[in-house]
């Protein structure tokens, strides 16, 4: 079946056009080949289309299909087989035969592609070499050189064939070279050489190219080698010569040398190399004297008296001496290659200099730099590699351009040394040995040793710099190690690895900050990370891709900032609110206190005080305490004390007079200063002018009594002002003695109702003397006695007076006044009022009496009672014993 298919396929033999010569960019010259494909087990002959020769042969019992096609660079015709089989093919060209081809015919076009890949792409016939050239070397050999054909994507090998004098048969050289030149035999004068070269793929299958176009090289009858010599004065040179005269090579012994056809060179300078080669040597040459336009000496090789017109040219020139003391070094810090020299002694002309420098290698790739300043002695040049050995040479020439360049100076080499501090510190990685049970972690730092270009040019040691908030900053010398372990104990620990060379430490370094979080959501600010992704190619490491990561500290900052944005306004608003409250309170207190302040003009104790601008409350009353001892101010502005008597008068009703009366009790050690009412008669006229009424009474019978009290009128009920005034006026002139201590008229209903603070007014003849001589029982008896006296309105002998009783709730701020101490004392807080309940009852009774008999019962009296009094320590002690020693 296969054979049938193959036969049918051959009947439909078609040609396809293969474009671009099987995907080869390299153009191939037309050439002919034969492809022998042998279908397996076939005995059928087949037809080939016109244009392709067909041949069958019996080879090893099988028929072999021979297909010959002409292939050129523009394309080829090939068969299109429509069967699926595999059969071997042999590639046959004029020079080669290759039977390693197996063509698989899977579909109609696969055959071509298979052949393409297996045959045509591998078996390449290159173009013949180009640019054939022959020359005579300085050693007298023929050298043939050529160049490879253009656009060859692979390396070629070459073979040379040549012939002499065209009469002899061509001979191939046995040597096959990959270079593009070949030395042939020694040259013969007066000969003709024909040479050809061909090439072939060096690696892999391929066939030889065609032979190149032959080059015919004819040698002269007289051959000089070298044909020209350019040398300087004092040097020694030699010329070789082969002389052929009338098709016969002259014996070297007969050769004579002439200079410029005018002077015969002494035979002592001749040397016979072999039978045909003569050599002449010129020692210690002098400079060539120009002869007309000829700047060289013509050296003639002569056959005795017969000289050939060809000659060798000898140029002996005068060069300046090369610069001396050439040095090459790198400038520290600047990083420039500095080349210095000294001008040669000769010539004395102004010179220009030429510098060549390059990396010191086997073959230095020189870079040139020219200096046109005759006074220059150095030049600094930028070079890419500061840590490599550079070679440098200098030569000179006359600045006017005449003459020749001197020889190059002896090369100078740089020494690799530290040029500057390292460009950067090493890149650092860390390994954290984490122990969850402890807050100590071992951190191991690893870093890559700096290369020369970064260290400029060496690293003496590495330094690890630590920084913690507790211990500050310190450094550790790691030496040349690239690993370092330390104990991380603090919450935040920053390390920096520095590279140190002989000049200093690196400035740009990598920091690593280690921190553990305070809480789950809180992160210590850390450094911003930079990730470098280095792609690795076959050729090496590529340019890295650098990505900057987020910095957590920024996030933390934002969060903190957000909190700050909330807290700060709250604080500000709270402050404003508090300030406002304080101001309002201040105004309110000012109103409550100072609107009822008596006119200093009318009140002796208030004279000298500036009520508009009181420095402090204490100051206000300290002024007062010159005569009266006060305790601290208790801010109970609405406290009502019982007024014993009211002595107010307003002459001018239009005056803004406080309508509320506030009781005022004070002691007056200094009677003259403290009160104007120290006598029996009350100076009502004086009082009448007071804006705030103040009534002062004293014990008439006991002039030493220091217990004074007064009431201040407040305007708590302004609607009752007129009536009040009348009432007040009615009692203004009323003075009272301790016999009429409690004035019924002086009590106000409202004051007792509204205010519950109790006040004791205790008078004592022994002013300013505290006499704790009473025992507890005595004190109790006295207290009971006093209580009884309170009930009796006309008990003149009693010195203890109830001014009021505070409520239980407010008794902590209740005050009492002893007549001996003449101070107002608050009730001790722990002094149970149960013990004083009797007083309260008495007071209640007293109040009732007052209400009943008081003429001012309808008035509202807001007592002006500075509840500042001091209690003696003993008093407190007594109170602590649930006893209020009121006599102390």
């Amino acid at each position: 079946m296969t054979c049938k298919k193959f036969y049918v396929a051959l009947l439909h033999w078609e040609f396809i056009y293969v474009i671009t010569a099987f995907n080869l960019a390299y153009p191939i010259t037309p050439w002919r080949f034969k492809l022998f494909c042998m279908p397996p087990n076939t005995t059928y002959d087949f037809l080939l289309p016109a244009g392709i020769s067909k041949n069958t042969s019996n080879l090893n019992g099988h028929y072999e299909a021979v297909v010959e096609a002409k292939f050129n660079s523009s394309g080829t015709y090939f068969s299109n087989l429509s069967f699926k089989t595999t059969f071997p093919c042999c590639f046959w060209s004029e020079q080669d035969k290759n039977c390693s081809v197996h063509a698989d015919n899977i579909d109609e076009k696969a055959f071509v592609s298979t052949v393409n890949s297996l045959v045509f792409q591998q078996i390449v016939k290159p173009d013949p070499p180009l640019g054939l050239h022959m020359e005579i070397t300085d050693s007298g050999n023929l050298k043939v050189s050529w160049s490879s054909p253009t656009l060859v994507p692979f390396q070629l090998q070459y073979q040379v064939k040549y012939s002499e004098n065209s009469t002899t048969s061509m001979r191939k050289t046995d040597e096959i070279v990959s270079a593009t030149s070949l030395l042939l035999d020694s040259v013969l004068p007066g000969s003709s050489y024909e040479v050809q070269v061909r090439g072939k793929r060096l690696d892999g299958p391929g066939i030889w190219s065609d032979w190149s176009t032959p080059l015919i090289f004819t040698t002269q009858d007289v051959i000089y080698y070298p044909p020209k010599i350019l040398t300087s004065v004092g040097s020694n040179i030699s010329f070789h010569c082969i002389y052929k005269n009338e098709n016969k090579i002259v014996s070297s012994k007969k050769i004579v040398w002439w200079m410029n056809l005018a002077e015969k060179i002494p035979e002592s300078q001749y040397n016979v190399i072999d039978d045909h080669v003569s050599k002449v040597t010129f020692p210690n040459l002098n400079a060539t004297k120009p002869r007309g336009k000829f700047t060289y000496d013509a050296v003639y090789c002569c056959n005795e008296y017969e000289c050939h017109h060809r000659y060798a040219e000898l140029y002996v020139i005068v060069k300046p001496l090369p610069p001396s003391r050439v040095k090459a070094e790198f400038t520290v810090k600047l990083g420039l290659l500095k080349i210095s020299w000294e001008k040669p002694l000769f010539p004395e002309n102004n010179l220009q200099f030429q510098i060549r420098y390059g990396l010191s290698r086997n073959e230095v790739q020189w870079k040139m730099y020219e200096v046109y300043d005759a006074k220059s002695k150095s030049a600094s040049l930028p070079v890419p590699d500061l840590c490599a050995v550079y070679a440098a040479q200098v030569r000179c020439k006359r600045l006017d351009g005449l003459g020749y360049w001197s020889n190059w100076s002896i090369p100078a080499y740089t020494v690799v040394m530290d040029i500057n501090v390292p460009v950067r510190g090493p890149e650092v990685w860390r390994i954290i040995d984490e122990d969850t049970t402890k807050k100590e972690r071992n951190v191991t730092l690893l870093w890559k040793p700096l290369m020369k270009n970064d260290s400029l040019c060496s690293v003496r040691r590495y330094m690890v710099k630590h920084h913690t908030s507790r211990n500050g900053t310190w450094s550790e010398d790691v030496g040349n190690h690239t690993k370092f372990t330390f104990l991380w104990t603090e919450q935040a620990h920053t390390v920096t690895v520095l590279a140190v060379n002989s000049i200093g430490a690196s400035f740009a370094n990598f920091n690593l900050t280690f921190s553990w979080p305070m809480s789950k959501d809180y992160f210590i600010p850390i450094e911003k990370y930079q990730f470098s992704l280095h792609p690795i190619f076959m050729e090496g490491v590529g340019k890295p891709k650098i990505i900057n990561s987020f910095a957590r500290d920024d996030i933390g900052k934002h969060q903190n900032d957000a909190g700050l944005y909330i807290i700060v306004p709250i604080i500000i608003s709270s402050s404003i609110l508090l300030l406002g409250t304080l101001l309002m309170s201040h105004q309110r207190m000012k109103k409550l206190f100072w609107e009822d302040v008596p006119n200093p003009k009318n009140c002796s104790w208030a004279q000298g005080l500036n009520f508009q601008k009181p420095e402090t409350f204490e100051h206000l009353f300290i002024k007062h305490t010159e005569s009266v001892t006060f305790g601290p101010l208790l801010l109970e502005p609405e406290t009502i004390s019982e007024d014993i008597s009211v002595d107010t008068s307003w002459k001018n009703k239009d005056e803004k007079v406080p309508t509320a009366m506030v009781s005022l009790l004070f002691t007056t050690p200094d009677l003259e200063k403290s009160s104007i009412c120290i006598n029996d008669e009350c100076n009502s006229a004086n009082f009448s002018e007071a804006e705030s009424t103040k009534v002062t009474c004293e014990n008439e019978s006991r002039r030493q009594s220091s217990v004074k009290y007064a009431t201040l009128l407040s305007n708590s009920k302004s609607g009752e002002t007129d009536e009040e005034q009348g009432l007040i006026n009615s009692s203004v002139s009323k003075c009272f003695s301790d016999k009429n201590f409690l004035s019924k008229d002086s009590f106000s209903n409202s004051s007792w109702e509204l205010e519950t603070q109790a006040l004791f007014m205790l008078s004592d003849q022994h002013s300013n003397i505290i006499s704790p001589h009473l025992t507890f029982s005595e004190e109790l008896d006295k207290l009971l006695k006093l209580e009884g006296n309170f009930l009796e309105e006309n008990n003149d002998e009693k010195t203890v007076y109830y001014l009021g009783v505070t409520s239980i709730k407010k008794r902590e701020s209740a005050v009492f006044l002893t007549d001996e101490s003449r101070v107002l004392c608050p009730f001790p807080t722990h002094c149970l009022f149960t013990d004083l309940r009797i007083l309260q009852d008495s007071c209640s009774h007293l109040v009732e009496n007052n209400f009943n008999v008081g003429t001012s019962g309808q008035k509202t009296f807001i007592s002006y009672m500075p509840q500042f009094q001091t209690c003696s320590t003993q008093t407190q002690k007594i109170m602590e014993n649930k006893m209020c020693d009121l006599t102390v």
């Binding site: 002269q220 009858d221 005269n245 002439w258 410029n260 056809l261 005018a262 002077e263 015969k264 002869r291 007309g292 336009k293 000829f294 013509a298 003639y300 002569c302 008296y305 017969e306 000289c307 050939h308 017109h309 060809r310 000659y311």
Partner: protein
């Protein structure tokens, strides 16, 4: 006699050219002993010279010197041109059928030789020219033929 004057002028010019050649320094030292081969296109000495032969030889030398284009030999080349004019004048006085010799188209091997043997060519050409002019000088006294 005009012919005598022309003949004298010719001799003076020849002597001038010889002097010019002698003034060229490097030609003075050339040894006459050495025979330079390979410069066969440069005319050699001729014993029997006629006016036409002289003109032809001078034309070759003129071409060679023009090819050399050296500053020194350009003047000599111009002198050779004048010398040839005088030779034509002499021939006209003698009523010789003396067609002016056309310059040779190309001297065989001149280009190759000049490329590699410039010095030899110049030296040999001037040397041979000098010898030729001296021969001419002698021949003119004997009234050479046409």
């Amino acid at each position: 006699m005009p012919i005598r004057k022309v003949q004298d002028d010719t001799k003076i010019l020849i002597k001038t050219i010889v002097t010019r050649i002698n003034d060229i320094s490097h030609t003075q030292s050339v040894s006459s002993k050495q025979k330079v081969t390979g410069l066969d296109f440069i005319p050699r000495l001729h014993t029997a010279l006629t006016l036409s032969k002289m003109d032809q030889t001078l034309a070759i030398y003129q071409q060679i010197l023009t090819t050399l284009s050296s500053r020194n030999v350009i003047q000599i080349s111009n002198d050779l041109e004048n010398l040839r004019d005088l030779l034509h004048l002499l021939a006209s006085f003698r009523s010789c059928p003396f067609p002016r010799a056309s310059s040779p188209k190309t001297l065989k091997g001149l280009g190759d030789v000049l490329e590699t043997s410039f010095y030899s060519t110049e030296v040999v050409a001037l040397s041979r020219l000098q010898g030729f002019l001296q021969d001419m000088l002698q021949q003119l006294d004997f009234s050479p033929g046409c």
